[in-house]
Symmetry: C2
Subunit: 504 residues, 2 copies
């Protein structure tokens, strides 16, 4: 027996082994460890971490004893054995995020709903240690629970060389030799996000750096890269895979290439982390089996809950609008959304049964490369507190999430029929809302309490009295004893109804 | 040599052969004819038409001599030869409708755009001869160029027995024996639609008749049925295949069954007619390779051109909203759309780069089964003339169709950049429109003439003067010398801009 260790379920277990350092260990040496436990056998690929050290990282999906033995084409790495004892998860460890059973939301492996409030800071993890600390401090006080981040830099960065350099030019690097220090630095940021309970949506490719060309490698180099990051990062339970940002701008790869890289990733990642791909103009086919959820760039789609919902109808999977134009004040239309409109897009997305992502372009220099979007640091905008309010409302709502109710009949209502309803009024300023809720089943009739949510001013105002919902017509429940609920004639209001009793 | 014949290209060539009449000829006898011509070899399956007669129907895709020889497991049908001489198409014969090269519109095989203005009359072809004549007379004076029609009846009909009856009960029929008279009657209606230049969108399955259960056959019976209709109807150049209406309500078939039946249809139809499938709540995966265009039921989707456009983005194929709620006055929400709203949905669909379908539920009896939707007859509604106006506008526009321009930036503008623009105002009543058109390329700048289209009152009013479009900002062309175009403050207006000159 080579090694023994104890780790909580869904924790991070690492086997470090000494092996060959000569030749090109990244390509010459194959290593994996087979873990057996809980009636399952899981083969976990390892990776070379430099200086003759190989690592295999495993996050046990079940408690109990996991016996392991290693396989390698290097005799010194082959036939080693050990065991990993997975103990009950500690408080705050809910396991990785997976798709909920209903197919449209997210939950942690222990069943805890994951209410996605994302943000993007593309190259934050590649900045100086001080800047990274600042970003993490900002995140510690912000509502965001998912961070989109690039492996390869898109703006000025401290860490720029994932591969061993071979000369002074931007393209002088050896795609067959990773620089372990780069990835060690990157995974430290994944780990720190995990400590904050934040999912790391790791973006493997991007179209913004043709000068270096990291996203334009050959197929075999791409395969090696995907396998390397899967082996290095996959055991962190907060990792999500975003195959690419604006994949359809990467001219060196075809749709068939992306399909191939997804198959490679599925094969390389025994932890089966969430997988998506982000577009600019052309939607990828999100029904393909390796896609776990649709990652969408489309600002107009979340100006209307029904546009948002249509993405669920097409993908038949959870939908995250990861890019909906950024809060900011630059002269580009992709970066000058008001905070009000940013928050409104989150709400329309919510009513459509989908999720939305934030970022902002404010920068003292006026250059959005230096903003939160590019490098992280501090937030300047006004949307974050409102997104915290939204998150609270989501957490108070039904699990695993809020579903649109009859959107194809033009209702902008979401919730869970017979239990919970949200009606959102966007930038309109109605004086009242006549209670009318779509309902196929009479069982939704009953007694409800209503609150008026001011989604901008972050207040919850209870409506006096009880709303007695009863069958109004073939299609709707009405509340004859209430009629209409008065509203404050301000934009960004919502009404929440929660059931307190049976048939009234 | 057995037979010789002359037929125009894309015409209907039929070989009738005498063969075995004993046993079950529908199942026992295999027959096909291999046609060779224009450097191609096309194997066309035949079918049994009763009384010992077999037929093979072929629509030659190219002019020239097509030599043929027959293949069969019946010696009397095997090894027969002949030739079909395909002559130049006659005036008015533009060939079958196919998907345009750009992937989002329809054209006839000779390149003539097909501007879809559809309607639905589910069981019109199964009514009395007199009623069918009435329906055809109505269509002769209407703008519709595609008719959705069921093979199996959904409302009271004269023709109800596609299969040989075996008793008095509704389920007493033999799925292995077609009644040729039923199909002969049906194809006569396809032919008559063709004479009017109307596409027959033939719906193979539907969920509305569980009592007879024609849509709930076994897989082998389904295969035989699909092969039979493909062989009988496929040579009519105006045939489209709609695999099912509201497929997701047919509980006896799974998604895998539908996939299988599409594969069967592709294999059985050498004429490669257009193929789609129509939903109620669950969208089929329209990116599957056998789907030529997305057939969608969703009324809310065409209340907004951007919702409509999203269907193109997901399907990456032409989109027809074949069911958007019907014009009518019944107390069901699916059948009480005003004529104004029906026409508006066509226009929003157009601006989204998609196509829409009409029908109406007016019936003297108050029962929509008796309406145009169910049985055909005459039209009572007010939308048809406005749809004729719309069709004229479409025909005056760019070929093959009108594309949305930057919909994901919330523009409700369509056309062809630098050449033609349509702006539609729906039920709003603006007093003017400030000229602002999204444009990435400066080449769209230039001189344009504008018309105000009153889409309800069917008028075209030329705007005085010339609109000089020039770069207004990074994203838009403006017209500083015009500023705004005055509008009549009535709903359902549109503005059309057509280029008359180069850079102004």
């Amino acid at each position: 027996m080579r090694g023994q260790g104890e780790i909580e379920q869904w924790g991070f277990y690492e086997v470090a082994l000494n092996g060959p350092a000569g030749g090109n260990p990244f390509r010459d040496t194959q290593l994996s460890i087979v873990f057996e436990g809980a009636g399952r056998t899981i083969e976990v690929p390892g990776f070379y971490d430099g200086d003759g050290v190989y690592r295999v990282r495993f996050s046990p999906p079940e408690t109990g004893v996991w016996r392991w033995n290693s396989r390698s084409n290097a005799p010194s790495l082959s036939g080693l054995t050990g065991e990993c004892i997975a103990t009950a998860p500690q408080s705050g460890n809910h396991g990785p995020v997976v798709v909920s059973d209903d197919g449209f939301h997210f939950v942690h492996a222990d069943g805890t709903p994951f209410r996605q409030i994302g943000t993007t800071s593309y190259s934050w993890a590649l900045q100086s240690a001080e800047k990274c600390r600042q970003t993490l401090a900002t995140l510690a006080g912000a509502p965001f629970n998912k961070m989109r981040m690039l492996v390869f830099p898109n703006v000025a960065s401290v860490a720029t060389d994932p591969f061993v350099r071979t000369g002074a030019g931007p393209k002088d690097w050896d795609a067959t030799r990773f620089d372990p220090a780069y990835f060690r630095r990157f995974e430290d940021k994944i780990r720190r996000l995990g400590d904050l309970g934040i999912q790391a949506d790791v973006i493997l490719y991007q179209p913004y750096d043709p000068v270096r060309g990291y996203s334009d490698m050959s197929r075999s180099d791409d395969e090696a890269y995907v396998r390397y990051v899967a082996a290095r990062f996959g055991a962190f339970r907060n990792v999500w895979w975003s195959m690419a940002n604006e994949f359809d701008l990467i001219e060196s790869k075809s749709e068939e290439d992306w399909d191939h890289l997804f198959r490679t990733l599925v094969d390389a990642d025994p932890h089966d982390r969430l997988r998506s791909i982000h577009n600019i103009r052309r939607y990828y086919d999100h029904r393909k089996p390796w896609i776990t959820h649709a990652s969408i760039q489309n600002g107009a789609a979340v100006d209307d809950s029904i546009r948002a919902e249509l993405h669920r109808a097409f993908a038949l999977k959870p939908v995250i609008f990861d890019e909906v134009v950024y809060e900011g004040d630059i002269d580009k239309r992709w970066g000058n959304l008001s905070a009000e409109k940013m928050v409104e897009r989150f709400w329309h997305g919510l009513i459509g049964g989908t999720y939305v992502g934030h970022s902002e372009t404010y920068a003292a220099s006026g250059n959005p490369d230096h903003s939160w979007l590019g490098q992280g640091g501090t937030l300047q905008g006004e949307s974050a507190p409102r997104l915290a309010f939204l998150k609270r409302i989501m957490e108070e709502g039904p699990a695993p999430g809020i579903d649109p109710i009859q959107p194809w009949w033009n209702y902008h209502v979401a919730g869970k029929e017979g239990e919970y309803y949200l009606v959102y009024f966007g930038d309109t300023r109605p004086a009242e809302w006549t209670v009318a809720l779509p309902a196929r089943e009479d069982s939704a009739a009953g007694s409800y309490k209503a609150d008026i949510l001011d989604t901008w001013n972050m207040t919850v105002t209870e409506v006096d009295g009880v709303i007695e919902l009863s069958r109004g017509n073939e299609y709707e429940l009405h509340a004859p004893s209430t009629g209409a609920i008065a509203l404050p004639q301000r934009p960004y209001q919502a009404i929440r109804l929660r059931r307190i009793g049976g048939n009234g």
